[in-house]
């Protein structure tokens, strides 16, 4: 362990609060990093890190998955999606299963790949599944503008984009959820800046620290939160200064709102959150897959026993779900949190199946 980290860990333990505190990390990449680096082993036991609704795939409602599968089944289309969504189970099937049955479903790494394919294959209808928070929305907006300028008529997006700050407010209003501080997402904040969190610190008196993703970043951010709690203050602070500015990225924000208007959006586990979604402006509506393709009526059903909803709200840890690692595993995921590379169940399954205390007791000889 480097001396910097050692000092930080010591100071965390020396200054730990006298009561249990819950810090919610909102971003799935934070969840993964915390599990992967075993950070729970380093921090005081009364600091409880809980995961929030920070994985875009996980908060996408099952009806969206069913809708996309419906389009794939009913129409001759080429669908482009990020890999994470590929294996998420819908009510009856998944995109992965549909691909096995011969549907044209492709994994891509950028919406530009889908647009390129549409441009090169004018006879095919191409749908890009636009998923993600403020981090990926600017990309989608740029692609839509490009498709518009180039008059590409066979390109559509299935839009499930969502906005983070609105969901945080909903969590604060939920009496079941106990949050003492937020570890705010680094990449999302690079776009939106720190101001959208001000209401959390001012109105709800909850400390917010925007954190980077290295172990040192996360430990430093936790130390900052503890400092605020010990002083009895609540502020929005940026730890991830090397990337995030107060004002965010004005050019990216401008691009988003050139293409989209705010709208309501349904989140898995959280329900409908006013103002937490985006819809294409009228000018760009011809790119909207939901408008262009009608899907036969279907009834979406959450998988029986799956507690992703409670996991997404931080009410339950993945290990507290009855299905976790018994029936629900990465090779047989029941809910989305086990599928996504940012899902908290996947993080726990991969890295934290064994309890921290047991790990501490394992034999250690050093070479």
């Amino acid at each position: 362990m480097s001396s910097n980290i050692k000092e930080l860990v010591e100071s965390l333990n020396n200054n730990k609060p006298d009561h249990k505190i819950n810090i919610m990390e909102v971003c799935g990449t934070h969840t993964m990093a915390i599990s992967r680096y075993g950070l729970r082993q380093l921090i005081p036991e009364n600091i409880n890190l809980i995961s929030g609704p920070g994985c875009p795939v996980c908060v996408t409602p099952i009806s969206d998955i069913d809708w996309i599968i419906g389009i794939a089944r009913q129409y001759d289309v080429s669908i482009f999606t990020f890999g994470d969504l590929f294996r998420v189970p819908g009510t009856e099937s998944s995109l992965y299963n549909e691909k096995s049955k011969g549907k044209d479903i492709n994994i891509c790494y950028s919406p530009a790949d889908a647009l390129d394919f549409a441009r090169n294959n004018p006879g095919k209808k191409v749908i890009f599944i636009a998923i993600g928070f403020e981090t990926t929305i600017p990309l989608t907006s740029v692609i839509i503008k490009r498709a518009y300028q180039e008059k590409i008529n066979n390109f559509y997006i299935y839009n499930t984009h969502k906005l983070v700050p609105e969901a945080l407010e909903l969590l604060l209003l939920d009496k079941e959820v106990e949050i003492d501080a937020f570890l705010c997402p680094g990449h999302v904040s690079a776009i939106i800046g720190s101001k959208p969190y001000n209401f959390i610190a001012e109105d709800y008196h909850i400390p917010c620290v925007i954190s980077g993703f290295e172990p040192m970043d996360i430990l430093e951010s936790i130390a900052t939160i503890i400092r605020q709690i010990n002083k009895g203050i609540s502020e929005v602070e940026i730890q991830y200064r090397r990337v995030v500015r107060e004002e965010g990225n004005p050019a990216a924000l401008k691009s988003i709102y050139e293409v989209f208007d705010k709208s309501d959006s349904v989140w898995r586990g959280l329900g409908n959150i006013p103002g937490s979604g985006l819809k294409l402006k009228k000018k760009f509506l011809k790119f909207d897959a939901k408008t262009y393709f009608t899907v036969k009526r279907f009834k979406s059903r959450e998988p029986a026993g799956c507690e992703c909803g409670d996991v997404l709200k931080g009410i339950k840890k993945p290990t507290e779900c009855r299905l976790f690692s018994k029936i629900c595993k990465p090779e047989n995921p029941i809910g989305p949190c086990m599928v996504s590379s940012e899902g908290s169940c996947a993080a726990y399954y991969k890295y934290e199946k064994i309890k921290v205390q047991h790990l501490k007791n394992l034999n250690m000889t050093l070479i």
Partner: protein, 352 residues
Amino acid sequence: MTNSQNKRNIKINNKKFKDKIIQLSHGDGGIKTGELINNLLLKYFGNEILNKLEDSAVLNCSSKKIAYTTDSFVVNPIFFPGGDIGKLSICGTINDLVTTGCTPLAISLSFILEEGFPVSDFKKILLSTKKVLDEIGLNIVTGDTKVVEKGSADKIFINTSGIGFLGNNIDISPCKIEVGDKILINGGIAEHGTAILNSRKEFNFKTSIVSDCAPLSSLVKDMLSVSKKIHALRDATRGGLASILFELARASKTNINIYEDKIQVKKEVRGICEFLGLDPLYIANEGKMVVFVDRKDADKVLQAMKKNKYGKDSRVIGEVTEKGEGLVILVTELGTKRILDLQYSEQLPRIC
């Protein structure tokens, strides 16, 4: 090459193979097949046994114990930085073979070619295959070629088998692993998998990552020449270092510690893994041998490895700590611990 249909049409001569693309007739056992074998394949691989073009090769082997392995290769793309499907097929086979500590004797090589496959590409593959065979001093003794309709296979698939004989005193197997054994590896990890990803057309990364694809028979020979206490060998291919450690820990019912700061991951490899959300511990290698050796001999073996051209970056990365349920524990750079488990992943199809 050695089936009876082909045999009738073979006359060994020095004619050039003039066809530009592979056609179905190159696999139908007729005149064209004869030309392919005689004017192309035997030019690269001809030797006393193969030249007989018999249905079966007959080999001399005085040993009572033989090691025998088979493998298929479907890598996409077929040419990648650091190798191609031909080199890969020989390296993969020989590396599997020598994990037993055997002396390799011979290899078989069979092709499934897609109609329309350019002969110029086929020649490039044959040449690199021959180069690696020459390096390790082994012959192809039997083989086969089939051609399938366009669309029924992707350019070229290769199947191989390898055979070797074992000295009576050699017994290398996961069940020989003992508490206290040191775990060694001959260099950085995840280079093959990331090189393949990097060369796929959907990525436009500009990196200098090269596959570690290499034949490790000389490395294993050098190790065995300095120690009789090598307990287990495994080449860390699909599933990466973590998966093979997991399998060996389970098989030997021991717990293993490995140390993150001892495992070499090149900066660019780490970069591409971080970008794509992949864990280098689970990414394929094609030239990395993991060695379990009695701790008393560990340094001797390490020095022998470092002298081999494929072992310059060899290092000790962990040890067997206790009898147990087969846990592989990664001690992170922070000093925290996490369990390495088998991972479910289909993110990287056709890497070998």
